[in-house]
Symmetry: C2
Subunit: 192 residues, 2 copies
DNA sequence: CGTCACCTTCCTAACGGTCGTTAGTTAACA
DNA sequence: TGTTAACTAACGACCGTTAGGAAGGTGACG
């Protein structure tokens, strides 16, 4: 029970301060235990960090799959637009996506390899999901301008990341300004 | 002389390891002096960091202006596309843009206010530059779909950031993959 | 021209504090 | 009885920072 709370707390601290900036002392204090007690659950800071990372990636991977299944009855446009709302809701509930974005962009140098090996499959999965979504929907809707679904998925990812990092950094108002600006243009470029 | 080298080196370290991850010890060693000698030039780590930041923002601001002036004779499409190449070249020459992107997204918590106060005007300037560019070019080219130039500029910024952070994190190959994927779609959405 | 004071820039030594980590112990529980 | 999860105490390493002094250059003044 404490182990789970410990993981959640650590994840929040890592998301907020980064690997180097997060302190075991403060994490323990937040949980309500002493610093050395962490070592009853994890082998050290690296272990705690990587476990938090695996946990965040796993959780978000299933959440992601759930979202794309739940929008199966919606139009392609609604599915893709709704993903932004989903991200926003998900991000306000917990810090997992912020954590993932942060360490994806700026991993601790000494754990760069391990981070990359965990992160890359995550984004690959994401792109595969999107590619499949685009292909399948287009079979019925016949709406896309190009049939290069992989490129479309990658472009969509680029736009979402540019928008979402804006939320992580500048808050919801700046995020919505960007989304409002970029979405009509992107969608117009995507469809016939 | 050493002061300038010190600043450049510090900037590189901050870009690579973040504020908390960068060590005065290692910075000094890279420069070829001892750690306390830093205090002959700067009041401390915060001062060094903020000075590096002001320097990077100032330099990049003028470089940016120079670029947009130098492309005055090119078409809008070439200007906007060329900006990506300019960014790439600029980034391989020094770490200033990487540094700026990093601290823009994840500033040290204790200096959040100061960082925001410096960064925001920078991005505002950037957006204003772009808005003006779009408006002026469209007056002669009559090519854009919408005359909401501010939104177009913001959308463009979103796409560039999404692409450029990819370069900072995943290298030039991933960057070019993204650019190739996103540019045709974005441009198609932008023009009539 | 010489010299004296001053400032800059570097140094060594060391400070107090925080870091992550380990050893050893205790209480609770299966 | 053995295991788990917490504790206290303390370790060595590194952190940013300060004190104090040495070397070198600069400029003023007799």
């Amino acid at each position: 029970m404490k182990a789970s709370l410990l993981l959640q707390t650590a994840l929040r601290h890592f998301a907020q301060h980064g690997y180097e900036g997060a302190s075991l002392q403060e994490i323990a204090q937040d949980v309500g235990i002493k610093k050395p007690s962490i070592y009853a659950h994890y082998r050290g800071k690296d272990d705690l960090f990587l476990t938090a990372m695996r946990y965040a990636l796993d959780t978000q991977k299933t959440h992601l799959a759930t979202y794309f299944i739940s929008t199966r009855h919606l139009s392609l446009e609604q599915s893709l637009k709704g993903f932004f709302d989903w991200f926003l809701e998900e991000s306000t509930q917990n810090d997992q996506l912020k954590f993932i974005l942060r360490i994806a962009y700026f991993p601790p140098v000494k754990l760069e390899r391990e981070v990359t090996d965990l992160i890359n499959p995550f984004f690959d999965t994401m792109q595969r999901h999107l590619t499949r979504l685009l292909r399948e929907r287009n079979r019925t809707e016949q709406i896309l301008y190009s049939d290069d679904y992989a490129s479309a998925a990658l472009a969509y990812l680029t736009v979402t990341e540019g928008t979402m990092t804006e939320f992580v950094f500048n808050g919801v108002a700046a995020y919505e300004r960007r989304f409002t600006a970029v979405w009509p243009i992107f969608w117009r470029g995507l469809v016939r």
